[in-house]
């Protein structure tokens, strides 16, 4: 048991170019923010150890290129994902409108075994910008969309200020964990999901 490798939870961050995917990931993992992240090319990931109920997990967070033109690459990176994070910029309507595309594209390319219940989490990022005055996507609107897609948990975040980032990722990790029992076969000792009970996706995230 001790020699078992830690259970890996794979999370994919998707969303339009410039909504702050890289920043969210770095804020969560490294507690850093920079104005100078380069546009992501291809894909990269960071890992972070997380602990739930005395058990350690490795959260592997994949950051991808935001330009739609690179979507076809997704297949290589999406497979085996346990949770998908959809990010939009609350100041850019188009980035919100595109969430549906990102979600559908993900489901097509990752082809999860149970697409109906695959866990997504939506983040409305950059709530700090201009004191909220330039905001165009209201919380209500975002939540309505999330509700229509099977009660996707929704968080408003600021990667720049670190606002709500931890809470969002904790929810992400817990949802990823709920998805994980599919893989039990490979890691018999780590199945212990008793703590959370069988996942009930429709309830969203309790965190």
């Amino acid at each position: 048991m001790a020699s078992r490798r830690r259970m890996l939870l794979k999370v994919i961050i998707l969303g339009d170019s410039g909504v702050g995917k890289t920043s969210l990931m770095n804020q969560y993992v490294n507690r850093k923010f920079s104005n100078q992240y380069k546009a992501t090319i291809g894909a990269d990931f960071l890992t972070k150890e997380v602990q739930f109920d005395d058990r350690l997990f490795t959260l592997q967070i994949w950051d991808t290129a935001g330009q739609e033109r690179f979507q076809s690459l997704g297949v290589a990176f999406y497979r085996g994902a346990d949770c998908c994070v959809l990010v939009h910029d609350v100041n850019v309507m188009k980035s919100f409108d595109n969430l549906n595309n990102w979600r559908e594209e993900f489901l097509i390319q990752a082809s999860p075994s149970d697409p109906e219940n695959f866990p997504f989490v939506v983040l409305g990022n950059k709530v700090d910008v201009d004191g909220g005055n330039s905001r165009v996507v209201s919380e209500k609107k975002a939540k309505a969309w999330c509700a229509s897609k099977g009660n996707i948990p929704y968080f408003e975040t600021s990667a720049k200020e670190g606002f709500n980032v931890d809470a969002a990722f904790e929810c992400i990790a817990r949802n990823a964990l709920k998805n994980e029992p599919e893989e039990e076969i490979y890691l018999p000792e780590t199945i212990d999901v008793a703590s959370g009970g069988r996942p009930q996706r429709s309830t969203g995230c309790e965190c």
Binding site: S17, Q36, I41, D44, Q67, R69, S72
Partner: protein, 738 residues
């Protein structure tokens, strides 16, 4: 021969050709039946479809059409796809391409799944995925120009167990349907992956046939089967029976052994080197001013002292062997490897005695295993022959080991010697060679890049260049004014423009901002990046803007320091690299595919490792290819690499060999640490900033020479930066968004 002689590019002609071909081949087959039928006992064609094509490039008109067949022999079902022979033709798609893509008798036992695609526009196509190993190698999409996908699948179902995937009705699984949920074919497979022409894993066909099958057998089938199955027909092989080629193949096959042998020995010796009196072979010496000339102060410190990136003696060895192969390929066909490598008088050097010598200097053939002082005259037996271990002193005098030493960059005075009195480059090849080996001093780049990139021609005079600059400046301003004149009210109604502009603005503010040239608030150079990219997106509206372009433009603007000049140099660069940004990613896929084929050729064990670990899509090299290592190297080194690449001196695809060189350099770590796909991506991304460019270039040069024609054969036609075929529409893709 067996394949039709006819081909044409238009659909109708295709069809006509196939009709003719059908009857023609039937006659041919009939007449050849007697001579070949004994070899093909029991084979029957159960399905035959003409005008099934593959698209080796993004352009449908460049397709290679052929005949798809299902052949039943005994209880086994095989698939073949043989391209038609062409008469008139597009020179770009040569015989070698057709050979590259030909599918020869793949048994369905090796097929994992077939995916059917029915695009809204265009032809139905299928992707056949092989199950061998875990590599998920797929054949390129087969487009059914005359329909017949359904019939194809139905026929298969009659002969082998085929099930429809539970989760995707367009996926049909064979052989491992036990767990269809996990085994679904995704489009993860490299769309352009192609079988290795000589399917080594193809088992011999069963020869027995049943009476039932005999009933169904057709006369047409019999000899066609023999044509398609190399195991049964020596003719196809004879075509390749070139002794020199065979030698190199044999040697390449033996690489793995030698490499392994050498590696094991070296690593063992390195481990034991401390205080043991072992000393790695000293390479280089002499007067090179490169950064490797730290002289080992202490023998015991071994290789680590020799160079910042510990040179891998095995690589060195392999490369000298490669060079030898290149020589053999180029030399008299009857040259025997044994005589070259084996028991010569001293057995250590080959140079001008071999005709067709590719290398300007001598070729070192040596056993690159660190030697013991007391054993310096010993021999080392390897699978390819017996080598004399050369002595330290002897070795000391020599310079060439793997690639030539890098030279200092081309300076102003030397540049002048390449020009005539009016400013024309007299010998462009000599210039390109010079830059290939040394690059260009920074202050000279402005002048030379414009020529290397093709903005100015080598033949242009000072006056002509000056004239062109002024004309092009006006032209640039005209294009720029197109978007500048868009009023806010107009922009409101011009979503595509707003989005494109927005994307560009997002990217320029995060492009090389740590460089003083681009740093700080309201940096005018950042605005220039934006203006040039926006103007380019109007100049090439079909391609538009794509992430990565700002990375490609940044060094150009930094060097040219002029808006219009930078624009036109960027335009020239994009002529070659534009396909990297195609919506269908075809340019990227062909490069990643070529990379995988080159690794297979040049480092088979590494290839096998990638294959076993499901890494054959090479997506971990995506960033390398998309922006030509821009994110992997320091700024200055990026410029150096680019000017070397732009010389197209040894190959226009040197960047692929650079990729192979880096992978080879870290192969020990990759394999030793058993990196999986994820780890590999992380590892490769983290190599950024830690790549020794000069050493890598030397490796790449040697690998390129080593691979020779075989290497070129690995690279599909039209792979960037090869110029795309000019059909009037450079970017005909449907680009709905940006």
């Amino acid at each position: 021969m067996q394949e039709a002689e006819l081909h044409d590019l238009s659909d109708d002609a295709d069809y006509a050709a196939s009709q003719q071909e059908g009857s023609a081949s039937m006659m041919r087959c009939y007449s050849s039946k007697l001579s070949t039928s004994s070899e093909t006992e029991g084979a029957e064609i159960v399905y035959l479809k003409d005008n099934v094509a593959i698209h080796p490039t993004q352009y449908a008109f460049e397709r290679i059409s052929g005949r798809l067949k299902l052949i039943k022999q005994g209880s086994a079902l095989f698939m073949t796809w043989i391209p038609y022979k062409r008469q008139s033709t597009n020179a770009k798609l040569s015989e070698k391409d057709r050979n590259l893509y030909t599918i020869r008798a793949v048994p369905f036992a090796d097929v994992r799944s077939i995916r059917r695609h029915t695009p809204a526009l265009g032809w139905q196509y299928i992707i056949v995925v092989l199950s061998s190993g875990r590599n998920r190698l797929a054949f390129p999409p087969l487009y059914f120009y005359n329909g017949g996908v359904r019939e194809f699948l139905t026929t298969i179902k009659q002969h082998v167990f085929l099930v429809r995937s539970v989760e995707d009705t367009n996926v049909f699984l064979l052989n491992d349907f036990q767990n269809p949920l996990q085994r679904t074919l995704s489009s993860l497979e490299l769309p352009r992956a192609v079988s290795i022409p000589s399917m080594p894993s193809t088992p011999a066909l069963p020869r027995e046939s049943t009476s039932h099958e005999n009933q169904e057998r057709t006369d047409v089938g019999i000899s066609d089967v023999s044509a398609s199955i190399p195991q049964y027909n020596g003719k196809r092989r004879q075509k390749f029976h070139d002794p020199a080629r065979d030698i190199s193949i044999q040697v390449l096959e033996k690489f793995s052994f030698v490499t392994k042998f050498a590696r094991e020995t070296t690593s063992q010796l390195f481990r034991e080197s401390h205080g043991n009196g072992f000393r790695p072979l000293e390479r280089r010496k002499s007067n090179q001013s490169d950064d490797y000339s730290h002289k080992p102060s202490d023998d015991a410190e071994g290789v680590a002292v020799q160079s910042p990136v510990a040179p891998d003696p095995v690589e060195v060895y392999v490369c000298s062997l490669c060079q030898l192969i290149a020589l053999c390929n180029n030399a008299s066909a009857h040259l025997s490897m044994e005589s070259v490598l084996g028991h010569g008088p001293t057995g250590t050097w080959f140079s001008t005695s071999i005709p067709g010598n590719l290398m300007p200097t001598s070729i070192l053939v040596e056993q690159k295993v660190p030697y013991r002082e007391h054993n310096r005259d010993g021999e080392a037996a390897t699978n390819v022959g017996t080598f004399e271990l050369i002595s330290y002193k002897e070795f000391d005098k020599l310079s060439l080991v793997w690639g030539k030493p890098r030279q200092p960059p081309l300076g102003l005075e030397e540049w002048a010697t390449f020009l005539d009195s009016e400013g024309r480059v007299v010998d462009s090849k000599a210039l390109r060679k010079r830059i290939f080996y040394g690059g260009i001093e920074h202050k000279l780049r402005k002048e030379v890049w414009a020529i290397l990139l093709g903005y100015h021609t080598y033949e242009s005079t000072y006056a002509e260049r000056k004239h062109q600059r002024s004309i092009k400046k006006t032209e640039y301003e005209t294009i720029k004014s197109q978007w500048q004149s868009i009023s806010p009210a107009q922009a409101k109604r011009f979503t595509k423009f707003r989005e494109r502009k927005g994307l560009i603005e997002k990217d320029v503010v995060r492009t090389d901002r740590s460089l003083s040239f681009y740093d700080g608030d309201d940096n005018p150079n950042v605005n220039l990046l934006r203006d040039i990219l926006l103007t380019y997106s109007f100049y090439n509206f079909d391609l538009g803007y794509c992430q990565g372009m700002s990375d490609l433009l940044s060094p150009i603007l930094f060097v040219m320091e002029d808006e219009s000049e930078s624009f036109w140099c960027f335009v020239a660069l994009m002529e070659c690299l534009g396909p990297n940004f195609n919506r269908d990613q075809s340019g990227m896929h062909s490069q990643l595919f070529a990379l995988s084929k080159l690794v297979e050729l040049l480092d088979n064990p590494l290839h096998n490792y990638f294959k076993q670990n499901d890494c054959l899509n090479y997506f971990f090299c995506f960033r390398w290819m998309l922006i030509q290592f821009k994110r992997e190297l320091e700024y200055e080194k990026t410029m150096r690499l680019w000017e070397v690449l732009w010389t197209h001196y040894l190959s226009e695809h040197l960047h692929l060999y650079v990729g192979v060189a880096i992978l080879k350099r870290y192969r020990g770590k990759i394999i030793g640490e058993q990196m999986d796909f994820d780890t590999l991506i992380r590892f490769i991304n983290e190599l950024s900033g830690r790549i020794d460019l000069d050493a890598t270039l030397r490796d790449a040069e040697a690998l390129c020479i080593c691979a020779g024609e075989k290497g070129a054969d690995c690279i599909p036609p039209g792979t960037p930066p090869s110029m795309p075929v000019d059909n009037g529409l450079l970017y005909s893709q449907q680009d709905e968004v940006l």
